[in-house]
Amino acid sequence: MAVRGRGPGRDSQAPADDAAPAAGRGRGGRRWPVPLRAYAGAARRRLHEGDLGPAPVLLALAVTWMIFQGLNDNFLSPRNLSVLSVDIVGTGMVAVGIVFVLLIGEIDLSVGSLAGLSGALFAALNVNLGMPEWLAVIIALISGAAAGGLQGFFFARIGVPAFVVTLAGLLFWNGLMLYLLGPDSSINFSEEGLVAKLTSRYFTAPVVTYGLAALGTAAYLLVSFRDRRRRGAAGMPYRPVGEIWARTGLLAVVTFATVYVLGRFEGLPLALLIFLAVIIASDLFLRRTPYGRQILALGGGVEAARRAGVYVARVRISVFMVSGTLAALGGLFIASRLTSASQVSGSGMLLINAIAAAIIGGTSLFGGRGSTWSALLGVLIIQSIASGMALLGVETPVQFMITGGVLLTAVVFDSLARRAADSRGQRSD
């Protein structure tokens, strides 16, 4: 799928350089006379703002892959990439929830424990109590939402810092998970069931896999042209045809290559499809709905949002509910991978990796800036490092240090970008 930092809503504005003359021209004629110059201007301005979109992250991913491929030929093999594409899903789902929380400028430390709790709850209900799988899944997800909502309540209504509330949550939910797991501290469930299928089901029929790739690309093309037509009709600058085709072409290359490579091993994993669906849906939700706009507004200025009539407490609680739900969903994928619920699934590493993924992917720690696509990019980088190290036989301590270094680099980038934006904002001309 296309990886876009800001998406069409923003990118389509690229030609709108120098709005005053642009507005005059745009109103009169339908053609965009100097797209090249306008592009250069927009690109330069973004550089000044320190807004490079997803470019640095993509570059980092490419470098990571090239290094590991250089060190070990098996790294980019269909088999390894296929395993990678399923391994990222659990952590990635949790990271999507973290993106929501980071967007309002807060943090949720309980997601790792909530993910573990969700797996344990599902296993306990399904195996110990004999509840049907679908019901156990729904209860696990609702419990995640409720736990997140409870933490959100203490934060938004009582005024306890989110850091502390979710730190308490981290301990509490972890304790609850261990209690549910009982003395064996692990519960195995069916390898043929619904939850196990989440990560063991692959689509192999070319009609389905290539059909999905074609469908996604076509949908992107249609939406782009529709947007272009509407903007043109309203007399506003719009994206040149060439750019639409270039973007669509790039998207097609990425999706078809993914389908092809994964098809050479076991096929297109269901888990990856669900992950992409969650990312696309949450991205559209954040960028294209009034509620998503309120979440972003909260990250940009609580007071401004309040004065604009945003129900701050309600939005905050709902964001923690989203984070809790996605943590629970991620927990199910992690349990599914092992077909068992155990202490491992809720370990502290999950929390650290999820937060690191969101930040490495380009979501700002300072709130208001980011996209759920950063969860995919970030988790890809983190899992690639883990997978590459494992292939090379590097020990865990070194893995930790390298991941830590990558995280620090990402945060430094984030801080520098923020400083660049600030200094531009304070300049008085």
Partner: protein, 258 residues
């Protein structure tokens, strides 16, 4: 004389032991810029909060177009058509100009934001007000102080208000930006809006205000027609010195004012 758009009659407000406003009278007509001046702690901000509904009055009557109204919440003021631009602006730095203008009143179709329509209206509004913003899709953080101020005012105009309250709009602006802002205030007045301008800057007041209302220690301390009043008269009314050393010292350049 036309009926006033907004009239305050005997408005008082008390914060614990401090009597912030005492029997304040104020009238603003449509198509008129009234400047509200006063020393620190004179009650200017308190008065703005009374009108904007953020801090309602304890006593007194507010009349809107001749009829008595209650302004208990910010929403009440909005419904009447009173828009306020606070000194701290309070905007979302991460959202673009369009996003900030429409925050809290987004245009959407079937729950999906209609970015095209919002951007079209933004451009239209900026165009009619002759405001130049290089790009309406850049995050607000990248705009200069003057541009942010202009966006804040444009935002308040979006709801087609009848009365605009501006709290120290020029306080943080340079010379060039200030003159642009004053142009904007004049063009709004010419479009028939009533404007209440709080300012410390005599130059600004002389430039755009039609009348000046002076507050001193929470009480009315004079109402002047700007064209026929000297700066010294206004200043002595602010300081409460009709004729003393302070009044004579007041021929300092305007920039010397806090």
């Amino acid at each position: 004389m036309p009926q006033p758009l907004l009239a305050l009659r005997g408005v008082s407000k008390r914060f614990a032991a401090v009597q912030a406003l005492v029997d304040v009278e104020l009238e603003i007509r449509a198509g008129e810029v009234v400047a509200l001046v006063g020393d620190n702690a004179a009650g200017k901000s308190t008065l703005v909060k009374v009108i904007s509904g953020v801090g309602p009055a304890d006593k007194g009557v507010i009349e809107w177009q001749g009829g008595s109204v209650q302004i208990k919440r910010p929403q009440d003021a909005q419904v009447l058509g009173i828009a306020t631009v606070y000194q701290d602006l309070a905007m979302c730095d991460n959202l673009d100009v369009v996003g900030n203008l429409f925050l809290g009143r987004e245009i959407h179709r079937f729950g999906i934001l209609d970015e095209v329509e919002m951007e079209r209206r933004t451009r239209e509004l900026l165009h009619t007000l002759s405001i130049r913003i290089p790009d309406v899709r850049v995050p607000l953080a990248t705009l200069s102080g003057g541009q942010r101020q202009v966006v804040a005012i444009t935002r308040s105009i979006l709801g087609s208000p009848r009365l605009l309250l501006l709290d120290e709009p020029t306080a943080s602006l340079g010379v060039e930006q200030t003159s642009q802002l004053l142009d904007l205030i004049e063009s709004l007045r010419d479009r028939g809006l009533g404007v209440l301008l709080i300012s410390h800057n005599m130059g600004d007041i002389k430039a755009v205000a039609d009348r000046v209302a002076v507050l001193r220690l929470g009480r009315n301390n004079g109402l002047f027609d700007v064209p026929t009043t000297s700066q010294e008269q206004i200043i002595s009314s602010i300081t409460g010195a009709a004729d003393n050393a302070v009044a004579h010292r007041a021929s300092y350049p305007e920039e010397a004012w806090p």
